[in-house]
């Protein structure tokens, strides 16, 4: 959804530049020089809120979150483990995504800042709070605070920007509901090349429950932050007219720790510590048709992610003989999706995903496990009454390889979301 900002242009130049022979206002006519409305200006930040509700149903006995939590190679991945296994996933029936309250403004001639407060029914959390430079030379930009990593394509997009209601499986399984969003610093560089080339490096404290978790308590060792490094590059060839294309490659590596409750008695009984890495690529093609109201617009995007967790068993209360052995997990996945504006304001989309094309785990006891890929197909239909609202119907049909076998599940979403206030325009 492209968004607009109201009442906010800030022309700071006070020189009159209308040109020597410009005419004065004709008498008796409602013409005005546009300076007329300047009195509306203020230095208040732009403030916006996204309200995003959906109805959800699936035909899985224990719920789709449970299925995803049991998926071979991906399941039980999260470091919080133990008794507090909680799956955030949709509930059957009505769901309200957190209210996204966003503030943004230029700070001064050097920096700009923005923050998103995510408010749930019970609590509020800081989704992002970031500062970035606006005046560095040589195409450089420094960003700091808590922010979404710019690796890949969908990671940096907020949920309301997605063309499907839910996240791609590979993102959800590797990085969790919030993607890679952490405290840190990013330095990016727009290269002086004859085509678009943007490259960035990021260092994060290391706080992702699936890939870069950190506990730092006995018996696990401590590691000082920052514990995660990310690098990415995006290239956009010069396509003519309404065509746009962007390729990206990325990689990330960092420390990872896991605590597990093997006998399910509510107490952690074994602990792992080591390194976790992922790498991959993304491609986006957009055709922005000249027709109004989004008719004829076409988007294809795809991302591939491969991850490897290389951990050592640092302690095991039940099987101390394996301590010092390693556990290595290698999994991957991709999604491909296409969305087409088939009528003014109406879009239809399809998405195909596979995860676990590579899916092998080497366990501390010397055994190895491997599993076939899981897949999911989705279809989507949405109606966009204006730039500020959208209604969407989506259905998923998945075939998931879990530790208990194959489970097929159908999911349905009916989503209704709106944007209030002054929300900044979205990036490509």
């Amino acid at each position: 959804m492209q968004q607009r900002i109201m009442l906010c242009t800030v022309p700071l130049i006070a020189v009159s530049l209308a040109g020597g022979n410009a005419l004065a206002q004709a008498p008796g006519q409602p013409e005005r020089s546009s300076g007329f409305q300047r009195s509306f200006q203020s230095f208040n930040p732009d403030i916006s809120a996204i309200i995003d509700m959906y109805y959800y149903a699936d035909n899985s006995e224990e719920g789709i979150s449970h299925v995803l939590g049991e998926m071979a190679g991906f399941g039980h991945a999260h470091g919080h483990g133990g008794a507090e296994h909680h799956h955030h996933g949709p509930d059957e029936g009505f769901n309200l995504r957190h209210l996204e309250l966003q503030f943004s403004a230029d700070v001064d001639p050097y920096f700009k800042g923005s923050a998103i407060v995510a408010i749930d029914l019970e609590s509020a959390e800081m989704e992002t709070a970031e500062i970035e430079t606006t005046g560095l030379p040589w195409g450089l930009k420094l960003r700091g605070g808590k922010f979404y990593s710019d690796f890949g394509y969908i990671n940096a997009q907020h949920a309301h920007q997605w063309d499907f209601t839910d996240q791609p499986l590979i993102y959800k399984l590797c990085l969790g509901d919030h993607g890679l969003n952490d405290k840190g610093l990013q330095l990016s560089w727009l290269a002086p090349t004859p085509f678009y080339l943007l490259a960035g490096v990021e260092v994060f404290q290391g706080d992702n429950e699936n890939m870069f978790a950190y506990h730092g308590e006995e018996p696990l060792p401590t590691h000082d932050g920052p514990r995660v490094g990310v690098g990415w590059m995006k290239i956009g060839p010069n396509l003519p007219g309404y065509h746009a294309l962007q390729f990206g490659v990325f990689g990330a590596t960092g420390k990872h720790q896991e605590e597990h409750d093997g006998n399910e008695d509510g107490e952690h009984d074994h602990w792992l510590d080591g390194d976790s890495t992922f790498w991959g690529g993304d491609v986006v093609y957009k055709y922005n048709a000249p027709k109004p109201y989004g008719q004829g617009d076409f988007i294809v995007q795809a991302e591939y992610v491969s991850r490897k967790k290389d951990l050592k068993l640092v302690a095991h209360d039940l099987a101390p003989q394996f301590v010092g052995n390693s556990r290595v997990d290698e999994q991957d996945g991709y999604y491909v999706q296409a969305v087409y504006g088939f009528l003014p304001r109406w879009r239809a989309g399809v998405r195909w995903e596979q995860v676990g094309l590579t899916n092998k785990s080497k366990l501390p006891n010397g055994e190895t496990e491997s599993s076939d890929p899981s897949s999911r197909a989705s279809v989507m239909l949405d109606f966009t009454p204006s730039e500020f609202s959208r209604i969407r119907l989506q259905a998923n049909r998945g075939s998931y390889k879990t530790e208990e076998g194959t489970e097929d599940a159908t999911e349905v979403y009916v989503q209704w979301m709106v944007s209030l206030g002054t929300h900044g325009a979205h990036k490509f």
């Binding site: 968004q3 008796g28 085509f195 678009y196 010069n238 309404y242 746009a244 204006s386 325009a425 979205h426």
Partner: protein, 317 residues
Amino acid sequence: MAERLKIVTTTSDLAAIANAVAGDKAEVHAICTGKEDPHMLQAKPSVIRLARDADLWIRIGLELEIGWEPPILDGSRNTRIRVGSKGHLDASESALVLDVPQTTITRAMGDVHPMGNPHYWLDPLNGRRIAGAIAERLALLRPEDTDVFRANAAAFQKALDERMFGPELLKSVDADTLWAKTTDGTLAAFLEEPAIKGKVGGWVAATLPLRGQKIVTYHRSWVYFAHRFGLDVVAELEPKPGVPPTAAHLAEVAATAKAEGVRIILQEPFYSTKAANQIARKTGARVVVVANSVGGQPEATDYLALMDLIVAKLTAP
């Protein structure tokens, strides 16, 4: 010789005027081709690359580009063209603006622009003023070529005046007086004065029979043209700006068009002509499809050619 300045404009119309003013002192790139709806674009990577190297960025302003300009300026990391810098020219600052809301507005009114209607380049007087503003800004960026920019702008304005009023009339009356008369209601009587009669030419002469006519347009994008040439826009096919026509609204428009004796339904080529044809069948009015931007149709090769084309299509028998 100094390196050529790099100018990036949001629309093709601004590029056409910038080209006329900068001459061979600059290379000019436009983001819009003129064939699309300029409200809805993407902050394409290749456009960010263009903005990266720009010395001067020119926009229409009045929030026309608000859905896509900020990520381009931000993504370009080009401090020369940031809003408020010498290299950022908001052309609306030099324009005469209409439709500035006088009451509280809400988004329930559709895509209303709180600072005024952004389609002001369709008033040729604004084209004239934009040329002046671009010349002054270029002079600020490249003072040694000030005279060239001012001379180019003056030549563009002279050519525009001649296309507007005809060279004969300009020999008798100065352009400023004539422009003022186009909207103060005195033009028709003035052109009948003995010393003046028969001298008018150009777009004004061609559109004289249209003065006072009531028209329907698709989007509220023709108010400036109508204002300058004495046309009266009585209805739009869009029920609210940015909202596609509905059956109920079209029925109302048809009734209005009949009651008001509308002869012309005017719209841009990128909109479907279905709704206009429907009204035309009911009322006998003529559907005129014409580009509202340079490049929107093959004949609209520059700003003056665009105006030529609009006048020709409106006055075609």
